[in-house]
Every structure is written in C-alpha cells, then in structure tokens.
C-alpha cells in the first residue's frame, strides 16, 4: 500500500508543478527535511502553493505538519531543503519574511490583562506599524469581535480566542497566512464561523496554508491538500480529485461481533481498508450489491452478527484511510 502511494505521489508532485506553471507561485518548498534524534519528522517534502490558494496539510498527530509549517514560518531551522516565500529564501535569515507572513499557532494565548483591541494594537506596534481606527474596526468586524473589543482576553470563549489569534496574524497585512489547526477544539458553530473568516481572507487575495485533521474542514476550505504521514507527503491534489482517485468505489462500513478478516479478504470486488472489529470495519467496493451480498453470506457462515451496516460515497477521510491504513483522528 505504502509503496503504491509513494509512486503515486511522485506523479502527483510532477502533475502539480505542471499545473501551477504560469501562475504566480507564492510559496515554494524544496526537499525539506528535519529530524529529531533518530526520528525524521519531515522527510524530503516538496510542493508549491499558488497565490490566492488555500492549501491544506492533512495528517494525524505527529505526522510532521506542525514541524513543516514552523520551518516555513522561520521558527524552526530545516536540516536540509529550501523554503521560498515570494521568491525570498526563508533561511538562513527568517527575519526577511516577517513582514509578508502572518501566523496563527495551534494553541493561542494572550496577555490576559489586556483587552481585545489592546492586543491588536500592541501587535501592530510590534510589527512596526500603527492600526488606524478603520483598520481596527474592520479586523474586529471580520473576526466577529466588535462587541468584545473592550473585553479582557482572559474572558473570551475558545472560538473567540481562535479568531482573535487569526486577527492578530493579520495586523501586519500579510500576503501569506499560516494557520496551524485553526479550529481544533472548537464546537461546530464556532468552526463554521472560523471557516467563513478564512474563506473571506481568500477572497481578499491572501494565500493560506493550514493544517488540519478534520476532513470536512479540508474538503470545504482547501483548493488542494497534501496528505502527510510519517513526515512524507503521500498524496497531493484537489480534495475532489483525491476522492475520484479511489475510482467509482463505494464505501461499506460495519461493525461485527468478531473480526471477519479471513472471509473479508476473499470478498469479490471489495478491498479491505480497515479490518479491526472493535472500531468498525471498512471496505471499498467496486460493485456494492455483489459485495454486500457476499459479506452477509460470509457473516452467516461464520456465525458473526453484522451491525451498523452503512453504504456511502467515499470522502477525504477514506482517501486517507486507503493511503495510510490509519484514521486521521486516533
């Protein structure tokens, strides 16, 4: 499986490079690697992001998403490889790109004794500028924080804090915005709201690079996603195309009282992507009717009860499962 994925990814990167030719490339990453001791956290990663694109890094915890992002932001020095933002090399002088990037970290903390607008003004000043009142108003409006402008940051909800972090990343009017898991830990409503803000940023011409382990987030927001596992990009394309690559397959998922491993492997026209019984089992079938009939027949023979049988159209989650044999959220 992994070998197949690696071959595919080679093709994908080539295809992508052709695809972006002629368009203005905002961020270019070439053979980026970073190790911690024996562990290779980012392993020879290359890709390019076009101006105005929302580019997503998808992968489970510890896949190397954050490390990759930090090397692009100038916070972590790569062992080898290159990052160019607007054709400016990030290393060895990361100070040069400070004016054109904005960063929202995974967990955001603020000075709790300052108010929302004081935080924005302070960060604008630290970037060497001044936030004029209309600009401040516009930022607060965009972040849905107008009513909270005089509230101490310590009193904000999780979603408000995340949006304030995003607004803080915007005070220097960056061209490229990095968002590390922008909606992790938020309730669905707050997540929706953050998505709207991110889409709005794209409309205003910003280039956005984000990490996520939410599939629906990637499908909704990203123009292209890179699926990353063990520090390597295992797939890179538009979300829809990645799903299409699974072919005209149907996803069949169910739980069983006992594992059906042996029988599943023999099912005609179905590919097992996940066979652990406790967490549900997943098949990708060419012919759903044939596969389901065969599955039920096998279950009857083995005396196994099948529950929660579901037939659905595959999504990005299944792409990930098919490529890595793992689920995004463990």
């Amino acid at each position: 499986m992994a070998r197949r994925a690696n071959k595919e990814i080679g093709d994908l990167i080539c295809a992508t490079k052709e695809g972006v030719q002629g368009l203005s490339i905002m961020v270019e990453v070439q053979s980026l690697s970073k190790g911690y001791g024996a562990l290779l956290a980012v392993d020879d990663v290359s890709f390019a992001v076009k101006q105005g694109e929302i580019f997503g890094f998808l992968g489970p915890n510890g896949a190397g998403k954050t490390t990759c992002l930090e090397m692009m932001e100038g916070l972590r020095k790569p062992d080898s490889g290159k990052v160019l933002i607007k054709n400016i090399p990030v290393w060895p002088e990361p100070g040069k790109i400070k004016k054109i990037i904005g960063v929202q970290f995974q967990s955001s903390a603020f000075y709790e004794e300052l108010t929302v607008q004081e935080i924005l003004q302070l960060f604008a000043a630290m970037h060497g500028g001044k936030l004029a009142l209309p600009e401040l108003d516009a930022l607060l409006e965009m972040g849905g924080l107008s009513e909270k402008r005089r509230a101490y940051t310590g009193t904000l909800s999780g979603g408000q804090k995340q949006r304030l972090a995003l607004m803080t990343a915007l005070v220097n009017k960056p061209e490229v915005i990095f968002l590390d898991e922008p909606t992790t830990g938020l309730d669905p409503q707050a997540r929706r709201r953050s998505w709207d803000v991110i889409k709005e940023l794209q409309t205003s011409g910003k280039t956005i690079i984000l990490t996520s382990h939410y599939m629906e987030e990637a499908e909704y927001l990203c123009d292209r996603v890179a699926i990353i596992d063990y520090g390597k990009i295992v797939a890179l394309d538009e979300p829809k195309k990645l799903i299409d690559k699974l072919g005209e397959k149907t996803k069949i998922s169910f739980t069983s009282s006992r594992p059906l491993d042996g029988a599943l492997a023999l099912l005609p026209g179905a590919e097992v992507v996940k066979a652990r019984s406790g967490e549900g089992q997943v098949l990708l079938a060419q012919d759903q009717g044939q596969a389901i009939a065969a599955l039920l027949e096998a279950a009857r023979k083995e005396g196994v009860t099948i529950k929660n049988l579901q037939v659905s159209v595959p999504n990005l989650e299944d792409v990930f499962l098919a490529l890595t044999g793992k689920e995004l959220r463990d």
Partner: protein, 368 residues
Amino acid sequence: MAFIALILANTRMQLRNRSSLFWHFAFPLLFMVLFGLIFGRGQGTLNIGLVSTGSAWEEHFRSALSQVEGVNFTAGEQNLLLEELKDGNLHVVAAFGPSAAGQMVEVELFYDPGEMLAGSTALAMVKGTLDGIARVVQQVPPLFSIKETGLAAEGLTFMSFLLPGVIGMSVMFSALFGTAYPLVMEREKGILRQIKLTSVKTAVFLSAKAVGMTIIAFLQAGIIITIGVLLFDVRIKGSLAAAALVVLLGALMMVALGLVVSGTARRVESVDSIANVIAMPMMFLAGTFFPIETAPGWLQSAAAVLPLTYFNNALREVLVRGEMLSGVLSPLGAMALWTLVFVALAAHLFRWEAAKNQNGRPSQAAKK
C-alpha cells in the same frame, strides 16, 4: 513605536493584576507600618523586680532609678519575681543581701539572656545606678561629665535606618519576580513565539519590561518615603533626585537579575524557588532590617559584595545620611558592574521558545 506600546501594555498589565499590585505596593506598605508599630516607638518600658529583703539600700535604689523615665518597679518575694522574670514580664530582678559595717553589700541580679535588647539594657541600667549610688555615698567626685547625644536626635532612628532597606527589598522582590515570572509564563504559553514573529527586536522587547519595572520601583520608593515621613517622623536629608538615580540603577540591576532567573527557569513553577533562593538570603544579609556587624567575618565579607547590599547602602547614605552622589560612587559602580554581569548572562540564557521534547512538540506542561 513598539517600545512605547510595550511599556504602555506592561504598565497596564501590572496595574490591572491584583496580585502584582499587592506585592508591588501593599506588601512594602504593610512592612513599613508593622515594623514601625513594633520598633518605631523606642524601647518601651523596662520592668525591674526588687526582692523585698528589708535592706536599707532598697529605698536608695528605688529612688535613684525612679528618676529614669520608663522604668517600672515591682516588689515582692524572690520566688514570685523570678517566676515573673521567666514569664518575660520582668527584665531584671535585683536582690540586696544583708549589709554589715565594713563589708560589701552583695547584690544578686537575675536576667533572661534570651531577652537580648531589653534584658541587657535593664542590666546595664541597674549596674550604672548601683555605681552611682556608691559614688554618692562614698563622695567620690565624678570623673567624667557625660553629655549624651543619641543618634536619634539627628533623625537616624531605627525607622530611618529601616526605610531605605524596605525600598531596596521591595524593588528587589518586585523587579526580580515581576520580570522573571511573566517572562517564563509568556514563554510557556507561546506568547513569546508570537512576538518572535513580529519585527520587534529582543533588546527593545526586554528594555520595555525594564522601563515598566523602573516606573513601579519609583512608585514604590515614593510611597514608602511618604509613609516614613508622615507616620514615623523619618527625616529625608539627601536629595531626592540622587535617591531616584540610585533607585533607577537598583531597579535595572534587579530586572537584569530577573532576566537571568527567567533564562534559568524552564517552567513557571521553578521561578518561585530560584528567585527565592536568591532573594531571601540577600534580603537578610544585605543589612535590610539590621546591620549584620555581629555575623562572622567571612559572612560579612560575602554579604558586602551582594547586589542588594550596595543598593541598600547607597540608598541609606543618600537618603537618610544626606550623602552626595559623589560620596556613593563606589556602591553605584558596583551596582553598574553587577548589572552588566547579569545582562551578559541573561543575553546568553534568553530563549523565545519553551523547551521541546524529542518529537519537537512543546512539552505537555507547555501546552496548557
């Protein structure tokens, strides 16, 4: 621009934080008032017990001592008086032996060596009184004409001695903790990383903190001096401008020391212990509350070079002894030297980011 904004933000945060307000201002105030109530009004009364033995000298003794202000007499049986002494109600108990012609009168004096100050004062007073009685009776003309001029008459009361020490101590604690604690917390929470991504220079960011702490140091000194002058009759003899310069240098020195602590402490929890290990012994050894002249020589030599010692001494000389700046150049120079040492160390130790574990993620403690 960024500098001013940071100073403003820092000052705002300090003033909005109740616990830092308490430590900066209420704590030194409390210190001054408590010390003033305990020590500010002199020695209090001396209680002397006189064992009734029927000796003729008792009346002489009593009338001689009763001329001294603040002496209380209690007469009674020896056993009862000694119990009182042990209970701490009496400072000295005197018992006159029988008097026979041509022989010395034996006087037995009991005191409690644990009652250092009042006990020895009372003992000396009783001895002096006995000498005086002897001289009068034997008609020996006094050899010395003693004119007493207490230091207190010049305004250097205990509170005058204490006041610069309280300023030194308060500035030390505030600047040390007020620098180290927020900085380590900001690093742990990731606020410093955010700031690292802005264009602000490290030196500018840290200088703004130093300016904020200096403003607080000036406020502290102002409050302590006002309380001392208004409530405890402390007389400020030196120039306030010179004192301000000493406070400025002292605050900068302690901020620099706070930066060293913040560079050493990996987590917020360790700031307390590291800073206290530095500050507590320094507070006692630097002559904050009392001179340490009775300490062994090596300890005195060590204490003499402590940063706070220079700070306290310079401030005391200028503020209550009326010394000019030219008279405290050597402690000021030593403070400048310490500041440079601390700044160099801090520059070496400063980190924007929290320590990472092996896979490059912030440690659990740092995450939340």
